[in-house]
């Protein structure tokens, strides 16, 4: 989909705060409520706005540790990929599963209450996944989402 500057301004505003109304957003960028609403609808219908993400303070909710895992499979083949993927997506602490090309086969984002809890998830759930081989863990210290090329 092609965007003009007004679309880009709307996307930037919604990336910051997706809960604002068309009237409030339009007021800020100098566009009427109906015109803003039509553009928001077009962006949603065109799949540019894929949805919304709720930002919660994980630490205040008792999830103090986020770890990214690089996972290499020990055995390859279609069956082992399917088994691994199905099992890994069923782990409640796993938030992201990416199939990647490079040093690892999969990238996982795992949330846990603390390091001891993470160790439990790693030993009981991740290391027991079908076909799992080498695993590398990096503990997240900070993260920042950028608006992207808008």
């Amino acid at each position: 989909m092609d965007l003009d500057d007004t679309d880009r301004a709307i996307l930037r505003a919604l990336e910051r705060d997706a809960s604002q109304s068309a009237a409030a957003l339009g007021g800020r960028i100098g566009l009427s409520q109906p015109a803003t609403w039509r553009r928001m609808k077009r962006l949603r219908d065109g799949g540019v706005i894929a949805g919304r993400r709720v930002a919660l303070d994980a630490e205040k909710l008792g999830f103090g540790v986020t770890v990214f895992l690089g996972v290499k499979l020990a055995t390859k083949g279609r069956v082992s990929l399917d088994d691994f993927e199905r099992a890994v997506m069923a782990i409640p602490e796993v938030q992201l599963v990416e199939h990647v090309l490079g040093l690892y086969d999969y990238r996982l984002r795992v949330v846990a209450r603390d390091l001891a809890d993470f160790e439990r998830v790693l030993r009981r759930r991740v290391m027991t996944l079908p076909g799992v081989g080498n695993v590398e863990a990096n503990v997240l210290l900070s993260e920042e989402r950028r608006p992207g090329p808008l």
């Binding site: 993400r53 919660l56 909710l61 992201l96 599963v97 990238r107």
Partner: protein, 151 residues
Amino acid sequence: MLDDIDRRLLRQMQADPSLTAADLAARAGVSPLKAQRRLGRLQERGILKGQHAVIDWRALGYGVTVSLRITLDKTQARAFDEFIAAARGIAEVTEIQTFLGRVDLRLSVIARDMGHYQQIYRDSILALPHMADIEALMTVATLYDDESLPL
């Protein structure tokens, strides 16, 4: 810290962030007024920080996503700050994360195609300061992406 009502509200909101206030309250089994008060309180406490639109960059023609795992030259005291400040200046960088582990930082970079990626990599990424090592993982597919907390 959280009681059952808070938990139910946050669980339902995570499951469907676009619910109206009335629907959210109904699904959590509380009155709209009570839901509003609870959510306001969660915001005040900094637990509920907001909602952000998720952009599907593929729909805008960005078909390539690469994770760049970076090790910095830590003999430079300001390496992290200067690297991050410079990375913020690259429009195609959508995430900047810092780690404790084998790598120091990760950048998520999007590009229209491999030619475009090569151009970003050569002109912008390799110009970033204090890099000791860089390693790329190309995303083939995102199979699951749900940052909901298991509340």
